[in-house]
């Protein structure tokens, strides 16, 4: 659901795994033949996690969404309000008493033009601007439904994915347009996620796959599971893994679809699909809550930890039964390498991720995690698509 207009990561490549940065990682189930210390990966690698929870001032154990805005502020959508991390590390939180439409903030987006924050909540869409909240509901605006799962600001329009369709709010004209089963290719109007493509908008539709909309032409195109059945995936790499979309994200020509059945990737330039399911691929779990794209890399928030992949190499972060962090690395043509970490994600049930070239933030069901990357030890190179 990357709707950021910040420069995508194209200089992440070449980050080297420096496990010497990880004291106490001696015991491992390592099977790789190539020493990890010298093996470069074209995707960022987290070497340690810093975790934050209610004891640090978060108003809820559950964090639904995380976003770092252009001004460097870190915003959290929690089960009990909107929070911003102050420069000194404290969290300042806003709730319904401050004007937020509902305590549960499911998703956030920044208006790149104004810096306004748009918030998808369980009871309406809220705008946070200049310290004030403005609430949009289905009774005071053209919002299709009050349960808003996703939001994005794209070219002067706020797109809100709701349980009753996608609402598009034009910021200049202050007019709304609703996209649902009556005027698009959606069979059902249950929308979950929005992503900005190159001149198009992608709608992640529950039971409807992905709908591509070109606002200029007004056209719609659906990407659907080619076998048409939820019970199985007939063949891999043939289209969306399933039609129940939990999230979409786009960057650098690559469209990602997260589902509760696996991961799909569509190369818009080559018009080719790839899919991953757990057990047959490095995907850590089929149950992917959301996906975040940066460059040609996807960050997957799953119920069993986080995965980072460019489609070829994978790094999975899980929390084992003893609460220890475990990192599992998959390189093409090599046996996977597993190591324990000195730190772990705050919780294995990851709900959302935000990342840039320097760090990653993980929203989890039991707190927030800051992923500190390994320091690059060689000159960055452009990540290549496998």
């Amino acid at each position: 659901m990357s709707t950021q207009t910040t420069p995508s990561v194209r200089t992440i490549a070449g980050i080297v795994l420096v496990f010497s940065l990880l004291p106490g990682t001696g015991s491992s189930a390592r099977a790789a033949t190539t020493p990890a210390e010298t093996t470069a990966l074209p995707i960022p690698v987290v070497t340690r996690f810093e975790n934050f929870g209610e004891k640090d001032g978060l108003p809820s154990h559950k964090v639904h969404s995380v976003l770092k805005t252009k001004d460097g502020k870190l915003w959290l959508g929690t089960n009990n309000g909107l929070c911003v991390r102050e420069p000194e590390g404290k969290f300042h939180c806003y709730g319904t008493k401050d004007g937020l439409s509902h305590p549960t903030v499911l998703w956030m987006a920044e208006d790149p033009g104004t810096g306004d924050l748009w918030l998808a909540t369980m009871q309406g869409l809220s705008r946070f601007s200049g310290g004030q909240f403005t609430v949009f509901t289905q009774t005071n605006s053209g919002l299709p439904n009050n349960v808003v799962y996703g939001v994005a600001v794209i070219d002067g329009t706020v797109w809100a994915a709701t349980a009753g369709g996608t609402g598009a709010y034009h910021l200049k004209t202050k007019s709304w347009k609703i996209y649902d089963q009556n005027n698009t290719v959606m069979e059902e109007p249950w929308c979950y996620s929005i992503a900005a493509g190159d001149g198009v908008v992608y709608l992640g539709v529950w039971a409807g796959g992905i709908v591509e909309h070109d606002p200029k032409t007004g056209s719609f195109k659906a990407y659907r599971d080619p076998d048409g059945d939820f019970q199985f995936q007939l063949t891999p790499d043939s289209g969306p893994v399933v039609d129940v979309t939990s999230g979409v994200a786009y960057d650098d020509g690559i469209l990602w679809q997260s589902t509760y059945f696996g991961l799909s990737r569509y190369d818009t330039k080559e018009a080719t699909w790839r899919t991953w399911v757990q057990d047959k691929t490095p995907l850590v779990s089929n149950f992917i809550n959301t996906v975040f794209a940066r460059g040609r890399v996807a960050w997957l928030a799953t119920d069993r930890g986080a995965s980072v992949t460019d489609g070829t190499s994978w790094v999975n972060y899980i929390v084992d039964e003893n609460g220890r962090g475990v990192v599992r690395i998959y390189r093409p043509g090599q046996e996977p390498e597993t190591r324990t970490m000195t730190t772990a994600l705050a919780n294995g049930f990851v709900t959302a991720i935000w990342a840039d070239d320097h760090e990653a933030w993980f929203a989890t069901s039991n707190g927030l995690s800051h992923g500190v990357f390994a320091a690059p030890t060689n000159s960055p190179t452009v990540a290549s698509n496998p």
Binding site: G164, Q181, W190, A207, F232, L234, T235, V242, F349, S365
Partner: protein
């Protein structure tokens, strides 16, 4: 039969009968101390796991379950090839935290939500019956609560007749701090409610939505006690093609979501059995003039007609079909077991074959006792909607009693039931929480509905 189920079933069989004085609670699937079925592994870690009814048989996480509702291979899609990946083989766990969270502060009752259907729609009457079943279960549970324990409280929300309305209501139920909720009948509403449950982490038991795709979303916060349309239509397709040898099947269905989803499975099954439908025509609910559809179906010379729609509509159409001289066998869904169908169809109802969930005239003690108590409470006999609602509420109540006021442990209890013997009979839950117990065939014969004999469905039969 798997070993653990053998053991559990032995416990079930060995459990002493509760005394008559405890009949309401016991007949309702209430608690006894006679046997303690294995709780799900996740739930066993909790400290609040009291003794439970022997009618609950729990599964083991990671265990394999019947694929595609346990239907015959010839009915499965692409059944001549092995798909790259099969889903819904094992039960989806919930891997998030919560099971060790303390109870909500200042708890004064154990709140269970009920999402009703919108008033005035075709499902309203069914929703009223659903509510009656739920209320009866709650009242009985409260009477059986030992002194000093928190009572159950029903939090009701009426549905809204608009797309997505149930999402708002489900969010409200979360704000109302319910521990779980039941409902609803309408497939679209159930879907949007389910999506919210994943965010709010409140388990949902659906007691009356037949949409097969509801549970196919892989969200581990739902079970459905109501057999879905797929089970009905597989049975009907086999009946039409295999038993009666029909070759030319015509379909007349409602043009709404219920009809669209309902026909989807049937047409696929018929095609896989070698008899793709020769006609599929639509009508709007309330239509009176369908002579174009009748003419087209008559021209197609069907030997079977499958009707999907509300009973008053179908009753009217069946009569018109016979009046137009269509001699084909007629088939329909469970909705036709309704006085409105018979009233409108008149003599044309004779020979209609449908599927229904269980025989309402059953004489087994659980059902007989339930009917008596229901009639005493509400002044009329229960239908299937009331009965499944009662069973669904019982599963929820039992889960709350076992798990305590913790939504995540309640989820574990609800979503790991393998078998449950309710007033509707034995239920068998698949990996995604569908009750896949077989549905019997019913024929309207000499002025009454006659259930075709079916072997008794029990956990031991289900394992064969």
């Amino acid at each position: 039969m798997k070993i653990f189920e053998l053991c559990l079933f032995a416990l079930v069989a060995a459990a002493p009968t509760a005394p008559a004085a405890a009949a309401p609670a016991d007949a309702a699937g209430g608690e006894t101390s006679a046997a303690l079925p294995a709780a799900p592994a996740e739930a066993q870690s909790s400290s609040a796991t009291p003794a439970s009814s022997p009618r609950f048989i729990y599964g083991t996480p990671g265990e394999k379950y019947p694929y595609y509702a346990g239907l015959p291979k010839e009915l499965l899609p692409y059944n001549k090839v092995e798909p790259y990946e099969r889903f819904f083989i094992t039960r989806m766990p919930f891997r998030g935290p919560g099971r060790d969270y303390p109870p909500p502060p200042d708890l004064k009752s154990l709140r269970i939500g009920l999402l009703d259907s919108p008033k005035y729609g075709p499902n309203w009457e069914r929703s009223v019956h659903t509510r009656e079943g739920v209320v009866l279960a709650m009242e009985e549970a409260n009477r059986a609560r030992p002194p000093g324990q928190l009572p159950f409280e029903l939090v009701e929300r009426e549905g809204m007749a608009q797309w997505g309305g149930a999402a708002n209501i489900t969010a409200d139920l979360a704000d109302d701090k319910v521990l779980g909720f039941l409902g609803t009948i309408d497939g679209a509403e159930a879907h949007v409610a389910l999506r919210v449950t994943l965010k709010t982490e409140i388990v949902m038991i659906n007691t009356s939505d037949p949409d097969p795709s509801l549970t196919e979303t892989n969200i581990p916060w739902l079970i459905r006690v109501f057999p879905d349309q797929r089970l009905e239509e597989a049975k009907l397709a086999e009946l039409i093609v295999h038993k009666f040898g029909c070759q030319r099947i015509a379909i007349l269905r409602e043009g709404d979501r219920y009809g669209r989803l309902g026909v989807h499975s049937f047409m696929a099954f018929a095609r896989r059995l070698g008899c793709p439908a020769v006609q599929e025509l639509l009508f709007k609910p309330g239509d009176t003039d369908i002579h174009h559809q009748i003419a087209a179906i008559k021209d197609s010379q069907p030997d079977a007609v499958f009707f999907i729609g509300e009973p008053d509509d179908i009753g009217r159409f069946v009569k018109q079909f016979r009046q137009e001289g269509i001699q084909a066998r007629f088939f329909g869904t469970n909705l036709l077991m309704d006085g409105r169908f018979l009233q409108n169809a008149g003599e044309a109802a004779e020979g209609m074959m449908i599927t229904y969930f269980f025989d309402l005239a059953r004489k087994d003690p659980l059902w007989v006792s339930f009917v008596a108590r229901f009639k005493e409470r509400w002044g009329h006999e229960p239908d299937a909607f009331a009965a499944y609602a009662y069973d669904g509420a019982q599963i929820m109540i039992n889960a709350v009693q076992r798990a305590g006021p913790n939504r995540w442990r309640i989820r574990d209890q609800v979503c790991n039931v393998d078998f449950y013997q309710g007033v509707t009979g034995w239920m068998r839950f698949d990996a995604i929480g569908n009750n896949i117990s077989p549905v019997p065939v019913v024929r309207f014969e000499h002025g009454r509905w006659v259930f075709e004999p079916e072997p008794e469905f029990t956990p031991s039969v289900a394992q064969q």
